[in-house]
Amino acid sequence: MITYRDAMREALREALTRDERVFLMGEDVGAYGGCFGVSRGLLDEFGPHRIRDTPLSESAFVGAGIGAALGGLRPVVEIMTINFSLLALDQILNNAATLRHMSGGQFSVPLVIRMATGAGRQLAAQHSHSLEAFYAHIPGLRVVSVATVADARGVLWPALQDPDPVLIFEPAALYNTEAELPANIGTTHIDRAIVRRVGTAVTAVAYGGTVRVAEAAADALAAEGIDAEVIDLRTLRPLDEATLLESVSRTHRLVVVDEGWRSVGIAAEIAARVAENAYYELDAPIQRVCTVEVPIPYAKHMEEAALPQTADVLAAVHRVVR
């Protein structure tokens, strides 16, 4: 068994070993071992040249990652949590995402940015949001959300092979989860959604931290004799529309489970795509299970009430399946 945290560290170790252009940079990644422990030990193994502690200067070190990528390196930049990433949004949007187009195709930015996202640890409103939709809005970025231990192990190398900027979102609540890794983990596709569980009665679409919520709901539904399909979007931009539409065309029902807020979010986008392209396949209205539209509160009972729970997914499925 290996944890999500250790799987991500193995992925970093593999990348640092395989390609001398790869280096890791971010707040507390070196001496501290990463604020979530992901990079523990890597400083001793690879030295301060390639495991670089940065000042608390998100805009400068993310932008420096862009420059280093332009200069021929393959930087992996870690931002502690998604709320901090807003301090670097200028560099991510105005430089990383736009340089290629604005220069008429002359420059690409092969940069990987990793960050923790999501709630569930009672850290209140400035440490608990799921803002992936902000980034999925931006052309020029590839946005990947990692829901499983196997993907934590497999996502980094393909992200580093991508010639354009890739953002990897790691739900903080998953770092301690454990799973067996097969001997040959294969390649994590960063351009395709994955069907986590095959079903015929309803399609439950999720990503990141809500995949396990959807899977738990599917288990409960199976006990009721309702056969739910669970899709992990995995890549939020560009969206794998084909896998979604194919599934809905078989199940004729759609529930979207999204830890982001309902308004103007990923779930809204999924619902719109399906309504645009598979409206006549639907036997029931699309249901969205999202975070309540509040800044995430501290108290445990309130935090839980704000987030999509298994019971919410079950209720949504019951509304569309007779």
Partner: protein
């Protein structure tokens, strides 16, 4: 301030004059083209500041990198981008240096290591730090020149980047074009401490002010800084004190400066100053400047003709270059 005025031979000094004249005449033509509606968008003129581009970029070689701002026609021309490529870009043509995707504020040239053209004030500084980081990590003897204005000194990124570059001793030349105004806000209205070199020095890097109206002083300072950086001394900062004779952009009515102030700086215009010096030493004659301008005008007219007949990018290619095309 001019302690290290460069000692250059006749041809080098004439070349500096020619570069400054090219920038000046090019932009004067741009004003006409803008008024005629041939080029659109924002047009930020560099007139008055030519000694900075000509002087700073004379101190580096073709392998070095340049990160620029939205007021970058002068930087691009000195860096070797052709007038054809610049004008076609401003005309929005496919033959422009950014295929018409960028316009006046986003000139790029990968071959000349010219990294734009950034319209976000201060936005180029982290990129320059990263380019220098790549060179430092690969042990390449390359300098990255990062040009930005006094307005950028007020941005958080300025402080983040100077700290990071000094901490990691990265080979960056921070070239601050202090033209005294952040758009319409005078230096003293935007900064609590107006000695910008002093503020940079507080991050532990060599930093000093330079007379940005004296191109030989700029060359000398830039050469000294580049030598320090190439020797492994870490980043340097130059505060190039200059002035733009025209408004911030062609949308700006320029109501925040008085004519007497502008007049005082125009008296120190870097082009006639250097020309007078070359005449006094007998290296040029009084009619040589006119000849030089006529040569540049012919270059511009040819570039205008080329741009006007150049093709537009196909609308079918609108979404090209958002992501790298995969084979």
């Amino acid at each position: 301030m001019n302690a290290d005025r460069a000692v250059l031979d006749k041809d080098e000094r004439i070349e500096l004059l020619r570069q400054m004249v090219r920038i000046r005449r090019f932009e004067e033509h741009c004003v006409q083209l803008y008024s005629a509606g041939s080029i659109r968008g924002f047009l930020h003129l560099y007139i008055g500041e030519e000694a900075v581009a000509a002087g700073v970029l004379a101190a580096i070689g073709p392998g070095d990198a340049v990160v620029s701002t939205y007021r970058e026609h002068g930087h691009a021309l000195v860096r070797g981008l052709s007038m054809d490529a610049l004008l076609a870009e401003m005309y929005g043509r496919a033959t422009g240096c950014s295929r018409g995707h960028g316009g006046s504020m986003h000139l790029f040239d990968a071959r000349r290591r010219f990294y734009g053209g950034n319209a976000i004030v201060g936005g180029g500084l982290p990129v320059a730090v990263g380019l220098a980081l790549a060179d430092e990590m690969r042990k390449r003897p390359i300098v990255t020149v990062c040009l930005f204005g006094d307005g950028a000194v007020a941005e958080g990124e300025f402080h983040e980047c100077l700290n990071l570059a000094a901490l990691w001793r990265l080979p960056v030349l921070f070239a601050c074009e202090n033209n005294q105004y952040a758009m319409g806000t005078a230096l003293a209205r935007e900064h609590a401490a107006t000695d910008l070199a002093l503020r940079a020095a507080s991050y532990g890097m060599p930093a000093w002010p330079v007379d940005g109206m004296d191109v030989l002083a700029v060359v000398g300072a830039a050469q000294r800084a580049v030598e320090t950086i190439r020797g492994g001394g870490g980043p340097c900062f130059l505060e190039l004190r200059t002035y733009r004779f025209r408004a911030h952009s062609l949308y700006d009515a320029d109501r925040y400066r008085d004519k007497a102030e502008i007049g005082q700086w125009v008296e120190r215009d870097p082009i006639p100053s250097l020309f007078a010096e070359l005449c006094a030493s007998g290296e040029l004659r009084t009619d040589d400047l006119g000849r030089m301008e006529a040569d540049v005008d012919r270059e511009i007219e040819a570039a205008v003709a080329t741009a006007e007949s150049a093709p537009f990018e196909s609308i079918g290619d609108l979404t090209r270059y958002v992501y790298t095309e995969r084979s």
